[in-house]
Amino acid sequence: MSSTASPEGLGPEGDKIFRDQLVEIIPALRAFARGLCGNRDMADDMAQDAMARAWAARASYTPGTNFRAWIFMILRNHFYTTLRKNSRMVSWDPEVAERVLVAGPTQHDRINVSDVSKALQKLPAEQREVLMLIGANGVSYEEAAEIMGCAIGTIKSRLARGRAALSALIDGPDIDREDGKQAAARLVAQH
């Protein structure tokens, strides 16, 4: 390796700032990864990989821009690459989904985190992702669109479908015949 100023870095000062941003984002990054993967160990591996990748690519981050969106993007890209390679992580299985559903309606006022977590894993990854970003992490439509690299309209429809599917998995189908859009809007409004 050459001993001249590292072209892959941001200089000692910039690197230090970048490092501090990494530290700060760890909890949120872990939470996002947990929602995507379901499994704690796999999620933490994924989050660490994302951090290592972010560090290696730090020169491509523009200081002052949205760091969370930038590193979440790295994480989700890594997740989808892994998902494609790894058949064990295949998510959408209608039969499994049906089984969760048969488990019966839960109490309406309170839902176990573990139930939601399990149900999330039955959803298509893209719906799961948008539910985690907006419903759990509390990012805006705009930021979610940036992270997922798609239009805001796509985010909204994925959120609505995801919210409806989650509701169907947990409570059974058409519990209150609520429009998915309304429910999705509430996910946002409650933050």
Binding site: R30, R110, V116, Q190
Partner: protein, 65 residues
């Protein structure tokens, strides 16, 4: 299927905020709880190891400059 997109939204009464207290969405609450649970966990040692590796590199960079 869903062709009605843009023009179909009736003017909404204020915000959805009123729903917040009245209509507490249990799924929204559970999603947030899922997030909060992870966030409140102590950060595993592996992450700290990664950070000290980064710190080491920053240190080298400083000394080598």
């Amino acid at each position: 299927m869903n062709k009605q997109k843009s023009e179909e939204n009736p003017p909404k009464p204020l915000r959805n905020r009123a729903m917040k207290s009245q209509n507490n969405d249990p799924i929204a609450a559970a999603l947030r709880q899922l997030h909060d649970d992870v966030v409140s966990e102590p950060v595993p040692d592996d992450f700290m190891r990664l950070l000290s590796e980064i710190d080491r590199k920053i240190g080298q960079e400083k000394n080598g400059a």
